[in-house]
């Protein structure tokens, strides 16, 4: 039986280990920290379920759905209600519904008349030449015009990556958006084709009754003793045709296969001696955005009518230009109970603000005290509240979300080339081919399926 060591017990590492073990491999997961689950963590704080990391998953990823089923979690799944389909963008001091269809877009005051007319000319814009490296921002300006790019693309960048659209490689960040252009001739045609092919069935947000942590807890419980906590790894070394994973305490673990499921900068440290400079530099070249998560709650009775109305939604995003006007580091905020009413006490509005990102990296340097008071003050102002909401939880990720900056796909090529030459060594996680939970599970599933769990007897 093949001995496999997985480094890192986040969602990607846990899923890989779980699937390999189901196929009979001898798997050990080494986790540096005190708990399994990585950034996925959910805690109830005084009547509000606070998600430390991802808020929810979409139900349109088959790998995730089959994992949930395999773990026996189906009974604990929550599906978001229809309110969660509504999202807002703050512009000119007002919260505008994000128009989800071209005909609605035409009448939405989110963009100026001129901006809308320009955006609606999108189907006539020629395709980019194949293989062109383009930022999300440049892509947006080219296809939908500057105004729509600075509002819609910017908000999308903030919402998914906490990223800066001028420093995001389109094909790496949103391969499906590029596909719409290349295959259907444009975003509008692509969206219409997608709506046709899905038969009108739209993806629904999912979580669990006790939040996203249920998923990683179930994986870790199933793996049991195979997950070793407080076991930071110093390096991965060659051991003949096999591998040796050495912990910081000096313990060597022999392995036929090693899966490094840590953030990219950790992977670079662990693998520097075996990967070579090009691939190690490529791993180090994947930057991470600092992200703060601040959970607030307040009584519905204390909220003005427009905030009560607004709270019946998934949340809102603030494009950079608008954020600058308001002097806020808040990228956007989610209404915890908008999607999942049982994730907070009845009669309360629970808001989870995402703060900082590539747009305002300075916010990561504020003292905790200053950070808390700034965010609370800014949220109070943005919502037009008279009463300051109470903080339920503050989480500050100094290196939170991997950024797929221009050159990302090239970096992946260099990393893959080095790994392929080595055989038996793999990397997986949110740093590479998608930042979301569904992406990590999909990549882990592919990886696990591709790893031979038997070793040829010599």
């Amino acid at each position: 039986m093949s001995r496999i060591v997985v480094v890192g017990a986040g969602i990607a590492g846990l899923t890989t280990a779980y699937l390999l073990r189901k196929r009979g491999a001898d798997v050990t997961v080494l986790e540096a920290g005190a708990r399994a689950g990585g950034v996925i963590r959910s805690t109830w704080e005084d009547g509000m379920l606070c998600e430390w990391g991802p808020q929810a998953i979409l139900d349109n990823a088959p790998e995730t759905q089959s994992l949930i089923e395999s773990l026996g979690l189906t009974g604990q799944v929550l599906r978001s209600n229809d309110d969660a389909r509504r999202r807002f963008i703050l512009r000119h001091g007002r919260f505008h519904d994000v128009p989800m269809a071209p005909q609605k877009f035409m009448f939405s005051p989110l963009l100026s008349v001129r901006g809308r007319l320009r955006a609606l000319r999108e189907p006539g814009v020629p395709k980019a030449p194949h293989g062109m490296v383009e930022t999300l921002y440049d892509f947006g300006v080219r296809r939908v015009g500057k105004e729509a790019a600075e509002v819609l693309m910017d908000a999308m960048a903030a919402g998914v990556f906490a990223g800066d659209p001028k420093r995001m490689e389109l094909d790496a960040c949103f391969p499906k958006v590029r596909e719409m252009e290349q295959k259907h001739g444009g975003l509008i045609q692509g969206m219409m084709a997608q709506a046709r092919s899905s038969g009108g069935k739209r993806a629904v947000l999912q979580s669990f009754t006790d939040g996203m942590q249920t998923l990683v807890d179930a994986l870790a419980n199933s793996l049991g003793n195979a997950v070793r906590l407080h076991a930071p790894v110093a390096r991965v070394e060659r051991d003949g045709a096999a591998w040796r994973v050495v912990t910081t305490s000096g313990e060597p673990l022999p392995a036929d296969r090693v899966v490094v499921a840590t953030p990219a900068f950790h992977a670079a440290d662990l693998l520097s001696s075996v990967l070579g400079a090009a691939a190690t530099d490529a791993l180090r070249g994947i930057p991470y955005a600092p992200v703060g998560v601040v959970c607030h709650a307040f009584s519905e009775a204390d909220a003005p009518a427009h905030v009560r109305e607004l709270s019946h939604s998934f949340g809102f995003l603030i494009p950079s230009a608008e954020a600058e006007v308001h002097g806020t580091e808040i990228l956007g905020a989610l209404f915890t109970r908008g999607a999942f009413p049982i994730h907070g006490a009845h009669g309360t509005i629970c808001v989870r603000s995402l703060v900082g990102g590539m747009r305002s990296p300075q916010s990561a340097a504020f003292s905790d005290e200053e950070f808390r008071s700034r965010v609370t003050r800014q949220l109070t102002h943005l919502l037009g509240m008279e009463v300051e909401p109470q903080i339920r939880k503050v989480i500050r990720w100094q290196r939170g979300i991997a950024q797929y900056t221009p050159g990302h796909l090239n970096r992946l090529k260099r990393i893959d080339a080095a790994l392929t030459a080595l055989k038996g060594l793999y990397v997986v996680g949110s740093a590479y081919r998608g930042p979301g939970v569904n992406d990590c599970i999909r990549e882990a599933t592919r990886l696990a399926a591709g790893i031979t769990t038997r070793v040829a007897v010599p």
Binding site: T43, W44, G47, T209, S299, I342, H346, G347, K393
Partner: protein, 345 residues
Amino acid sequence: MSRADRFLKACRGEAVDTPPVWLMRQAGRYLPQYMAVRAKTDFLGLCKTPELACEVTVQPVDLIGVDAAIIFSDILIPVEAMGMKLVFDDHGPSFPEPLRHEAQAAALVVPDPNEKTGFVMEALRLTRKALNGRVPLIGFAGAPYTLLSYMVEGKGSRNFEETKKLLYTRPDIAHSVLEKLAQTQISYLKAQVAAGAQVIQLFDSWAGALAPDDFETFAAPYSKKILDALKDSGVPRIYFVLDGGTQLPAIQACKPDVVGLDWRTPLGWARGVLGNAQAVQGNLDPCALLGDLPTLKAKVKRILDENAGRPGHIVNLGHGILPPTPPAHAKAFVDYVHELGMQKP
């Protein structure tokens, strides 16, 4: 937020400053002040004298500091009104002529609650006045299956042989009595709400003795009927099944606002099964009040930790407070819940 709001808010899953706490059978023999009132009459006399029932109902609100009062009465009071002879002596309540024949079942009536048990309604009215809004007032009734067991056994029982013999030989009789009990309790509880009860609790003390399929046949449908009938009254409805941990899905299907948990059911686990949509109540082992205070405090902390900050938690014992409990320990329990419950992360 005031003490007056906590309990009702927690029942509805709303935000609270600290989980509220009360104790099942909190107006009871562990309190010397209760014994002093009780010395004036017998148990049934106490139930049927509204002024005295009111006095002992209010006692723990002042003496122990609980966040809710529960009207002093007994679950067998409406059964007496249905036509069963009821006796209370040193061994507790009993029916000297237990229900064993079809004719006895047929003779049971569905009483008018105000006419036959008007003293309960009067006690509720007096108590609401006496409480003057300090804490909410709970009304209660026994669940049909529990009452049927009492009626058939004549008294408490270890194995409920007679009741189960009836279920397994003449289920038709059992169902006919359960139906009359459900109708009786619906009008009895509606009358309590009209008289001032702000929350109602349905006690199913013996349904935990049933096999799961029997629970679903003989207990749950009748409890659900009562809970459904009270839904429009607008008051939160608590359903407590002693030893009901393995019946949680069936209990949840009865759709109470609050699920009462006994101490054998891990609260965090129950939350997982129930899925956080309903509030829960519980669940300290009543014997924990007989131990030392540091242990008691640790157990209170454990219960709060098991709930882990989810909304809708009412702290209570997992069953009635025991007569040998030192009143100081009952008060310490309440104080610990408030002290630990107010500590925010």
